[in-house]
Assembly symmetry: C2
């Protein structure tokens, strides 16, 4: 029987000083609780998402130094922790000093495991390089190291032997992606088992995305079952980002017994030191199996948003925020979330009406502010908008070549954007500075996908907390906030019922039922197929499914919706091309200048979704299929379709 | 003797249709010019910087289809070209269909090289994963493939044998990074030579950065000399981006003979089909050696900027631009560049004075417009700024919790930012829409480094064309424009001589010699050490060099500057920490929302410089050194330094 402490710490990225201090305290606590072994997450000292900070040698030396302080503190306890390991004598593929994403095993002030491996630590074998992950950029993997020793990677995957309570325990130490080996030729856990490991320890720094834990439990349970060895997964909590995309880390550290059953876990989104007694002789089956909560629901989305916003504000030192509220659902949800995190006295809600805003939405904005008990102000923008329109229309442009003079016309479409920019860049930015905080971006993922937001206008803000939620998810989280978080109607019911509208022109009058050009029950799902699917759907795929009559089933939207929305192929194609052009065209330019996005889904705009300003493209196969469909439905004039 | 055509084509990223059409035309031309062999660049069909477009299977099929059209066109000529190769039956590490960055050799309608390799094409061995490069994200390398066949990578690096003029020529085909093998354990060119290659062909898609060609000639010459085989390097021209960072491709395709001498090259930044006769028996020494122009000077920086701006505008469909001109050097340079590219009638220069702008700079702005012959307008912002200040100061904030009322104070610092946002988000954005184009961001790299620009203000624009130039480079390019490009004073001399200033407050009055807090002759070099160096300098390094008296030599700034600027260690440290805090703090948040940056240097903000909002950090070693230095120079009160 060994006593093991899972140290689900909050890792502060880029702060080895703070992380090492937290670890020393947890080691003391674990020792006090009679643990034989305490396990910290991957990259516990430096943090994981650090951009190119890895290129600072001073930072590397600092991490090494703090790492030594952890080793020194391992008297009477075995400490497993993640840190960067540097081989100052070797080079990475980039010519810089070689760095490993490493797992250290320390006991009684000494590093263990140097007897059967080139280094006295273990290094990550599989380096994720999809989505937001960048391991291959900075770290040298075991797969690259093996050929240098003329060895197979399999031969180098050796357990670390430590003495615990008089017996030798062989620890199979792997790091994060090493456990997600389904798509790789190499299976580190199975190899370590074959090489004698008694116990698999997976130290991770695994960002939260919706549904990931569910998959992880499936994959890791199977791994434990197949190896017949208990598997301990330790993940950190906290918030880390790569600039454009901001990730929460939920921890949810879990122990699987040798039969693949979950026998212990730490609750998500909170630091924990969880101590268990594991009988290795019984493969951990001394503990009863547990059921973990499902985390794919709206409650988890809410929890991620709340945790992410709170941590992001704390990190950036923002204690007060300004939220522009229109009376629509997106800004209402933002207001409710920020009020929950900061308290209503630290949230200034501002309604910014122009002549196009209805009494309905103005009233709803005020009602929302009342329900939340926030600070509230109304700042009309019409005077400034009129001034701008007048001034731009009156600009006297002179050609310095020939002295000729011209002026410019300001169209109604331009006035829409003038309003949006006036609200954000003039009023909200100014108010936020005076209020001593930041102003929020309330854009959702559907809007961000096709650039249905004005640059320097409603797309602006210090954080786009809702920009990884499709419109239907925004509604669902809003409802959850009312029913479950607050337990009363903080977001007025009418906000759920009015037509979504930007209210920037007479064509968007909510009281006449006019609003956004987006048909969310269809476009949310179409855009998800473009954007979130592992194999991205393109117009070619969409059109093929449309032609085959399987589109709704493929997209997952309501059956019967597509023919109701589009009377014929021409209308369907026009819609498809319009949004594809925006998604791959102007919206890319807008996203480049968008605020950081808080991650929820398995594919987030920003660093997780890399894109170039290459503009819309339609494949040859698409063009062919389109021609055939239009031909079918729109016979060429003078060429009757059926003979005669 | 074989006749070889170097097809230095312009590759349009994401447009297989256009690229294939251009290639077919060049194949015809090469055949017409009796070429035995025509060589296209890496990824000639899809383009290279495509973000995650590689995850669209429809796009992959499309590339394959256009690739087949090139193979079909290879009758009577051997065609080497780059394309994505897909193995639909295998998976990459990410579980998606497996993709290779491949080199195809086609002749008489058939792919060659399948006899001594698992595929009838060659795949890239070394995948760059530093700076802007993302190969490892999408493509499976030869290094990963070899273990699947239980072979060494060296064994799989086999030449492609083709029959030319009755003789067999063994082509050693490598791709881009394969030629930059100095930091790798594997040397593909040397291995191919050992495996019998008569000729090394390096097809590349290599973005321009200053000084790279110089290094490339050094590295590739050595490679040719060491293998004793001629080496043909074919690179594309054009513009490609990864969203935040925009790269020009200069081509500069070059042929090295077996003695390492350059015997042919295509002029940079222009498409070319360059045909040479190469005597393989004489290792290419039948041609006389040439000297290539040095491309590390200001002329090259100018050319990159001009080419990059022209291509970016063409790509995004922007035909007219608005440039806000302050009378300072950055906007003057932007105006001169855009006027050169688009013609003065398509460039609207706008001066946007507030009460803080001097008659001096207003006059210089007008003089600049006159010299360039552009369209010109003056749009004063004071009325709108006053309205905003009045309106913000008068906002009646009510607490919906207790009914109490407050209002906010607008400080002079806030008014600075209000002016900047008024200019960009209100006036320039509106004018650009009315003018039918975009407005430019004129920020330079020194400003971007420390966030010395206002978000939604002077940091805004569709492209930050100068944001990879340090302030001293901005001046140098400005001078080059006058002396060499225009051959007359288009940028008024006084603009070079006034103090750089934002003119947003009385503290920045140029006529009183007041201006930016940045001391460019020092900070340009300090920031370069933070940002551009391969091993990033940090305060720890800077302070150590300062303490050792070698700082100026290390940074490359003027000797004697540092003690002149900073009377003692405390002053030096205060300055260092101030800028480091900004660089790693607020400036990161601003850069996340910055426009795309046009690349010039070997390290560019954006995708090439990955960063997180982790905030400033000072290592333990820095803290120790700082304490020691302050102790030395500032003896503790009551503790006299020298006895007594």
């Amino acid at each position: 029987m060994i006593t093991i402490a899972l140290a689900q710490m909050e890792v502060i990225p880029g702060r080895p000083d703070l992380n090492a201090a937290a670890m020393l305290a947890m080691i003391d606590e674990a020792r006090g609780r009679q643990a034989d072994l305490v396990i910290f997450p991957e990259m516990a000292i430096p943090g994981y998402l650090l951009g190119d900070t890895w290129e600072q040698q001073a930072f590397l030396r600092d991490c090494e130094e703090y790492g030594r302080s952890i080793v020194a503190a391992s008297h009477g306890i075995c400490v497993i922790f993640g840190n960067v390991a540097v081989d100052w004598d070797k080079r990475g593929d980039d010519g810089r000093v070689r760095k490993y994403n490493a797992c250290f095993v320390a006991q009684d002030g000494v590093l263990r495991g140097g007897d059967n491996f080139p280094y006295p630590f273990r290094i990550k074998t599989l380096h994720p390089n999809y989505r937001e992950f960048d391991d291959t950029r900075h770290f040298f993997s075991l797969r690259k190291l093996a050929p240098e020793f003329d060895r197979r990677t399999e031969d180098l995957l050796q357990p670390v032997a430590v003495a615990i309570g008089g017996q030798t325990v062989k620890l199979g130490c792997i790091l994060c992606e090493d456990g997600w080996s389904d798509d790789y030729g190499l299976k580190p856990a199975a190899i370590l088992h074959a090489n004698g490991a008694d116990l698999i320890v997976n130290i991770s720094s695994s960002p939260f995305t919706l549904g990931k834990n569910n998959k992880r439990n499936r994959v890791f349970s199977k791994q434990a079952l197949e190896t017949g060895r208990p598997l301990i997964y330790v993940n950190n909590v906290g918030l880390q980002d790569n600039g454009k995309t901001v990730y929460t880390f939920d921890g949810f550290s879990t122990v699987y017994d040798g039969g693949g059953r979950i026998i212990a876990y730490c609750p998500p989104f909170a630091p924990a030191l969880h101590v268990i007694g594991l009988d290795l002789a019984r493969r951990g089956e001394n503990l009863p199996p547990l059921t973990v909560p499902d985390d794919r629901g709206i409650d988890t989305i809410y929890e991620t948003l709340r945790y992410g916003i709170a941590k992001f504000l704390a990190r950036t030192g923002i204690e007060r925020v300004v939220v522009g509220i229109s009376g629509g659902i997106d800004s209402a949800l933002a207001a409710a979330l920020y009020a929950r995190v900061l308290g209503p006295d630290n949230v200034l809600l501002v309604n910014l009406p122009s002549v196009y805003n209805s009494a309905t939405t103005k009233g709803l904005a005020e009602q929302l502010a009342k329900n939340l008990g926030c600070l509230y102000a109304v700042v009309p923008i019409q005077e400034a908008v009129d001034l701008t329109v007048r001034q731009l229309g009156g600009v006297d442009i002179v050609s310095m070549r020939d002295g000729s003079r011209t002026c410019l016309a300001v169209t109604p479409f331009m006035v829409e954007n003038i309003q949006a920019r006036d609200r954000s860049a003039r009023v909200l930015a100014g108010l936020a500075a005076a209020f001593g905080g930041g102003f929020t971006c309330n854009a959702n993922k559907s809007e961000l996908t096709v650039g249905y937001a004005t640059l320097y206008g409603d797309q602006a803000g210090f954080l786009a907390a809702l920009a990884d939620l499709w419109k239907h998810q925004v509604y669902a989280v809003g409802e959850y906030i009312n029913t479950t978080v607050y337990g009363r109607e903080v977001i007025p019911t009418a906000i759920f019922n009015i037509v979504p509208s930007a209210e920037l022109s007479p064509e968007q009058a909510v009281d006449e039922g006019k609003g956004d050009p987006l048909i969310y029950p269809y476009h949310d799902y179409l855009f998800r197929a473009f954007m979130e699917w592992w194999n991205r759907a393109t117009p070619e795929d969409i059109l093929a499914w449309y032609a085959a009559g399987v589109l709704e089933a493929r997209l997952g939207c309501a059956p019967g919706l597509v023919p109701r929305l589009f009377p014929n192929a021409a209308a369907f194609i026009a819609d498809l091309e319009k949004w594809w052009r925006l998604y791959t065209g102007m919206a890319v330019a807008k996203r480049i200048q968008a605020p950081p996005v808080l991650a929820v889904s398995r594919r987030v705009y920003g660093f997780d979704h890399r894109e170039a300003q290459n503009g819309p493209y339609f494949t040859a196969a698409y063009q062919k299929l389109k021609a055939r469909l239009l031909e079918l439905h729109w016979p060429r004039p003078g060429v009757p379709r059926h003979g005669g």
